[in-house]
Structures are given as structure tokens and as C-alpha cells.
């Protein structure tokens, strides 16, 4: 047969376990303990309510631009749920709930959004990278971490996040290709929230799914209902196990939706219809997971309410602490920290000059 269709051993699967009407596929239900399920729920609620609070702070001018995560809680929380603390997380910038779940403090998020570099400091015991604004640039870093882990003969994995828009960048391609070639333990999690600012998924690429892009790299690809935390968890767990077992990388496409604006500087009314948003609200991942937990008998209305109250208090405390902290972080000379291991002489001079100017300004202020 000189003209024939080429067969690929790899296939791309779609996974959904808990559908938007709350129907559960019991055959696929992951075996997760109650406390983990409740913890995930709690962080979903925290992520959602923190968004609202940050939005208020932003509108009041108390913090700067930030990217809300509402609607995507299941996608990123379900993904990190199977990770151990030694596994690595490399975020984009729309995984706040997952960062918090893995130990980032609410204050550090607030500080970062308020324009303090201190907000991006990462404790030594958290294997996380700072948020990465330049789209898709963090993907090769994850490959490097994965390679290093393998070299180090550890069995940890790396999970890296990005959006649907990121799949268009050259760095996405180079990273996934390297991941295939070096068979690194990296899980690539695409939060396909249907929009890259104003560009809909359909104009981002003509490929039917994003998951199938894995075929170009000889790695595993899977698409999941990203608003179904059980499906996301299942896909992530399989991918993580796959990586740990030395079988290489996986690309997971989480089909989800950004319910709010791209960032607080954005006005989504310019480019998308309210009806679309409404349709997706009906698929809200938190409501859906809440139903499941009720069905399991792990949650009731009273418990839900108290989680909300607790979470709000936690947020309020963090805002208070962060704002107190900010008052102490005023020294502009901090900008000279962490540039080099040792500041070269000419920059030391620039630093002293700035110090002198600040003192003079202070004097002028004091006297004038």
C-alpha cells in the first residue's frame, strides 16, 4: 500500500467524572480521603473569595493590577492535589489557589500585587517557582528542573502551568519537544480558559484540541473537563505517576473558563458576550464539587457557611498583616538587593548615590 494512513500508538483521551449536572461516573471516581477532599474544597472557596477581596483592594487603589482565577479553581487545585511537597510547581500567574494550597501565604500574594518584590520570595521548603508573566517562558524551566531531578536520581516530578494562549508561543513548542526527547518527569498543565485576553481559543490555533499537540512531541496528551476537580485530579495523578515511573512527560488540557476579567486592567465586555459567561457559570467547579461532597455526606449547608466565614477571616487577617508589613517595606534601597550575589563597584556607587539623595530629600522634607 504505497499510499496509506500512518497509525500512531498514542491516542488522546478525554476524561470527565463529575459532570456539570453533578452526575458521577462511579467507575472512575478517585479514591481520595475525606480530609483531602475537604481541603481541596476549602482552597477552592478561599481562591474564589480571595479574588473578590483582591478586586476590592484593587478598585480602592490599595493594590495594583492582578489576574483573577475565578472559575479555574478545579483546574489548578485538582492538578496539584497529587503532588508531594518535594515535587515542584512552576506557575504561570493564574494558579493562585494552587500556590496557596502548596503553602504560599496570602500575604505574599497581596504584597506581590501591591508591587513589592518581597511578595515573590519563596521559603526554602517550598519547591515552587515565582509566578511568570512572560507567556510560556516558564515551560523550559520546568524541563530543566525535570532533567535535574532525573540527574539527581530523585523520583519527584515537576508540574508547570500555562494558558491556552501560551500554546502558541515558541517556548511551549521547544519545551514540550525537549521534554519528549529527554523523557523528563514533567506534567504540563494547560488551563484552557477559552480566552487569551480578547483572543478566543478558536483563533488561537486551528487544532481541534490542545491536548493533541502532544502528538507532535511523542508525549502523552489528555483533555479533561477542567471544571471537574475529580477528573483533573485523576489525569494529574496518572501523569505524575507516569513521570515518577520514568515514562516521561504528559500534556493535560483542562477545559475551563475565566469567569472574570483577564486582569483588573481588562474589560471583557469589549470582546465576549455575557451569555457565554452565564453558560459557564452553570458549570461552576465549586458548586459542582460542593454537590459531590454533600452527596458523599462530607459537607452540608452549615459546614459550607462556616468554611466561608473561616476563609474570610483568614483573608482579612492576611490583608491586615500585609498592609502592616507594607508600611515597613518602604526602603527604596531594597531594589539593589538580589541583583547579583555581590554588587559590582559601579552599582554600589549608584546605590550610595541614591542613599545620599534620599537622605537629602528627607532633610529637605524635615526642614521644609
Amino acid at each position: 500500500m504505497p499510499r496509506k494512513t500512518i497509525n500512531f500508538p498514542d491516542k488522546i483521551e478525554y476524561i470527565s467524572i463529575l459532570d456539570e449536572n453533578g452526575r458521577l461516573d462511579k467507575s472512575l471516581e478517585p479514591d481520595l480521603p475525606q480530609d483531602v477532599l475537604l481541603r481541596l474544597y476549602r482552597y477552592m472557596v478561599l481562591g474564589r473569595r480571595f479574588d473578590q477581596r483582591l478586586l476590592n483592594l484593587q478598585r480602592q487603589g490599595r493594590i495594583g493590577t492582578f489576574p483573577p482565577i475565578s472559575g479555574q479553581e478545579a483546574a489548578h487545585l485538582g492538578a496539584v492535589a497529587p503532588l508531594t511537597t518535594d515535587d515542584w510547581m512552576v506557575p504561570a500567574f493564574r494558579e493562585t489557589a494552587a500556590e496557596l494550597y502548596r503553602g504560599r501565604s496570602l500575604e505574599s500574594v497581596i504584597l506581590g500585587n501591591a508591587g513589592f518584590s518581597e511578595g515573590s520570595s519563596i521559603p526554602e521548603d517550598q519547591n515552587m517557582f515565582p509566578m511568570s508573566v512572560p507567556i510560556a517562558t516558564q515551560l523550559p524551566h520546568a524541563v530543566g528542573l525535570g532533567w535535574a531531578i532525573k540527574y539527581d536520581k530523585k523520583d519527584n516530578i515537576v508540574m508547570v502551568f500555562f494558558g491556552d494562549g501560551a500554546t502558541s508561543e515558541g517556548d511551549f513548542h521547544e519545551a514540550l519537544n525537549f521534554a519528549g526527547v529527554y523523557q523528563v518527569p514533567v506534567v504540563f498543565v494547560c488551563q484552557n480558559n477559552q480566552w487569551a485576553i480578547s483572543i478566543p481559543r478558536s483563533k488561537q490555533t486551528r487544532s481541534q484540541t490542545l491536548a493533541q499537540k502532544a502528538l507532535a512531541y511523542g508525549i502523552t496528551g489528555v483533555q479533561v473537563d477542567g471544571n471537574d476537580i475529580l477528573a483533573v485530579y485523576t489525569a494529574a495523578k496518572e501523569a505524575a505517576d507516569h513521570g515518577r515511573a520514568g515514562k516521561g512527560a504528559t500534556l493535560i488540557e483542562c477545559v475551563t473558563y475565566r469567569l472574570m476579567m483577564h486582569t483588573t486592567a481588562d474589560d471583557p465586555k469589549r470582546y465576549r458576550k455575557d451569555e457565554e459567561v452565564e453558560q459557564w457559570k452553570a458549570r461552576d467547579p465549586i458548586i459542582r464539587f460542593g454537590k459531590y461532597l454533600k452527596y458523599k455526606g462530607f459537607l452540608d449547608d452549615g459546614k459550607m457557611k462556616s468554611i466561608e466565614t473561616e476563609v474570610d477571616r483568614e483573608i482579612q487577617d492576611a490583608v491586615d498583616r500585609a498592609e502592616a508589613e507594607m508600611k515597613k517595606l518602604t526602603d527604596p534601597l531594597h531594589m539593589f538587593e538580589h541583583i547579583y550575589a555581590e554588587l559590582p563597584p559601579h552599582i554600589q556607587i549608584q546605590r550610595s548615590e541614591m542613599a545620599r539623595e534620599l537622605t537629602e530629600l528627607q532633610k529637605e522634607a524635615d526642614h521644609g
Binding site: G64, T65, G112, A114, G115, F116, S117, V133, P134, I135, A136, G165, A166, S168, E169, G170, D171, A196, I197, S198, I199, K203, Q204, T205, T263, A265, D266, R270, Y271, M326, L329, P332, H334, M335, F336, I339, P344, H346, I347, Q350, R351, M354, E357, L358, E360, L361
Partner: protein
């Protein structure tokens, strides 16, 4: 004649040029329905259609590389890089091709494209959204590099850039987008690329700057006059490459003292070339070392501290006083 912000003035340049010349194509991330994240391309897709205003996938090298092909064919693409900090993804397309295709094809093709990008600090933006790296482009042979300082000249320079037969990098100081309004004439206006402007005449020292730093520089010049009766001549470069060194050397021959102000880091920054041209062409007129007021050689800090990083009138005045007090 209408009072406009820089955003509106740039938008006007697009509307008029696109209406006249069907070869002009606007392209970039979110330049269509969204009108660009700063709204510079607002309304263009409604007026000119999807064929003239391309919302692209999220890929800067793809945008610029595609524009090179379009320009070679005979179109006049104007690419938007959403922020200058994300233009480096396209750096190789500019260095290897946009700047060289004329040479590489011995004149068969040329690349009349414009690469626009908002740059610089001062708007409380996110990480990677505030730095100034104009030198990267100014150093590349085959390119021109332009930085406007206000609505009227921005509009006129953008029209010139679109008409220019060679690739023009057009950095827009984002701090100025909505900072003030200026009268902008209704009829099309151009401003020649490669020309600088004296925006304030003076005899005692020459202050050279461009972009968003023109405002603190002019503020400093006024303060110097009020405080000390010093008459500073202030030059707005407008084009960084090719440099209009005739203008600023003539000024320094008159004043004998010069300083350069920019927000880019000092080392290997734009000021260095200005100083070198001055040394080359007006050395014997210099009465004091040329001063630089610039960003420090560090990454510009996040917005809570950026105002301390950016040159301001107080710093400029202090350096000017040093310059004037030199023997």
C-alpha cells in the same frame, strides 16, 4: 485641531493612514476587538475590517516574522508588541531579517514595517512591563528607532514611520499615553525621522532627553530658571537612530555643558552614545564632564519602589547644579 491624549493621537494617525493606504495592516495581540490593551488601535477593526486589523495568536516571533513576509510582498504592516518586555521573543526576527532583508536580497525586497511597543515605567504595571531597553534596537544597523514625547509629535512620527521604506522601531512611553493632552491638527502631519528638536532654548547648559523623561527634564529646567536664573537648553531627541547629532552638538558648542537623562540603565545605555558624539564633535567646547541622570544598572523594581528608580526633577536639578558648578 483637537485636544488629544497620545493614545488618541496615535489612533488618529492609524485612522488617517489606513484610510488612504490599503497597504497598511495593523497586527498584534488584542489589537482588534479589544483595541489593544492601551486602546491605541481602538475602533480600527470596526472601521477597516478583519483584513486590515489582525488579531494574532500569542507569538511575537510569528507576528514579526509574518510582517517581514508581508512587507517584502509590498504591504506596510504595523506590528504591536503588547509590551516592550515581550518583544525579545521576536528579537531574532528583527536582527536577522527585518533589519537585513534589503541587504540580503540586494535591494529586491525591503521591509517597510513598524514595530510599536509601549515601554518604560511609571504606570504601576506588573513585572516585565516597565523596563527601557531602547539601546537593543538603536544598536542594530538597518533599523531606525523613534521615541515620541507627546501626542502631537507621536502622531506625526507614527505617520512618518509607516511611510518610511525601512523598518522602524517605535517605542511609546506608556507613562505618557494619557498623561496630558495636546492640540493635534486635523489634517495629516508628519515629522521627519532622524530629526531632534530644541524644546526650550537656553545658553547655560544643554539637557538632552526623550520620551517620558522629557517632562521631569523640562520641569527641572524651569526650576533651575526660577531658583537660580539658569537658562537650560532642552533637546528632545525623538529619533534615537539615526541620531541627529548636528543639533545637540551645536547646542553644546553654545552652552559648553551637557547632560543626558533617560530611564534606561546607565551602562551601555543611550546616554553613552550621546556623550561619545559630543566628545567627538564638541570636545573643545566642553567646560565640564557630561553628566548622566539615568536608571541604575539594576532591574527596575516593582511599582511600589519604581518612583525612586526613575529619574525625577530633583535628581536632574542636583546633577545640573553639579554640572554648572564645575570650574
Amino acid at each position: 485641531m483637537a485636544k488629544m491624549t497620545m493614545v488618541q493621537a496615535l489612533n488618529l494617525a492609524f485612522k488617517q493612514t489606513m484610510a488612504k493606504d490599503p497597504r497598511v495592516i495593523v497586527m498584534g495581540e488584542d489589537v482588534g476587538l479589544d483595541g489593544g490593551v492601551f486602546r491605541v488601535t481602538d475602533g480600527l477593526i470596526q472601521e477597516f475590517g478583519e483584513d486590515r486589523v489582525l488579531d494574532t495568536p500569542l507569538a511575537e516571533a510569528g507576528i514579526v516574522g509574518m510582517a517581514v513576509g508581508m512587507a517584502a510582498y509590498g504591504l506596510r504592516p504595523v506590528c504591536e508588541m503588547q509590551f516592550s518586555g515581550f518583544s525579545y521573543q521576536a528579537f531574532h526576527q528583527v536582527e536577522n531579517h527585518a533589519a537585513r532583508l534589503r541587504l540580503r536580497s540586494q535591494g529586491r525586497f525591503h521591509v517597510p514595517m513598524v514595530l510599536r511597543a509601549p515601554y518604560g515605567g511609571g504606570v504601576r504595571a506588573l513585572e516585565h512591563h516597565s523596563e527601557s531597553r531602547e539601546v537593543f534596537w538603536a544598536h542594530i544597523p538597518g533599523l531606525k528607532m523613534v521615541i515620541p514625547s507627546g501626542p502631537r509629535v507621536a502622531r506625526a512620527l507614527l505617520v512618518s514611520a509607516i511611510q518610511d521604506p525601512d523598518p522602524v522601531i517605535f517605542y511609546e512611553p506608556k507613562a505618557l499615553y494619557r498623561a496630558f493632552r495636546e492640540d493635534v491638527p486635523d489634517e495629516e502631519e508628519v515629522f521627519p525621522i532622524g530629526k531632534s528638536q530644541i524644546v526650550r532654548e537656553g545658553t547655560d547648559l544643554t539637557m538632552i532627553s526623550y520620551g517620558a523623561m522629557m517632562r521631569p527634564t523640562l520641569e527641572a529646567a524651569e526650576a533651575l530658571k526660577e531658583k537660580k536664573g539658569v537658562q537650560a537648553e532642552v533637546i528632545d531627541l525623538l529619533t534615537l537612530s539615526p541620531l541627529d547629532d548636528a543639533l545637540f552638538t551645536a547646542s553644546v558648542k553654545k552652552t559648553g555643558r551637557a547632560m543626558v537623562v533617560h530611564e534606561a540603565p546607565m551602562s551601555y545605555g543611550p546616554g553613552a552614545e550621546i556623550i561619545s558624539r559630543l566628545v567627538e564633535k564638541s570636545f573643545y567646547y566642553l567646560e565640564a564632564p557630561i553628566e548622566r541622570v539615568t536608571g541604575a544598572d539594576i532591574t527596575i523594581p516593582l511599582f511600589s519602589r519604581e518612583s525612586s528608580y526613575l529619574p525625577n526633577a530633583a535628581r536632574i536639578i542636583r546633577k545640573a547644579e553639579k554640572l554648572l558648578s564645575a570650574p
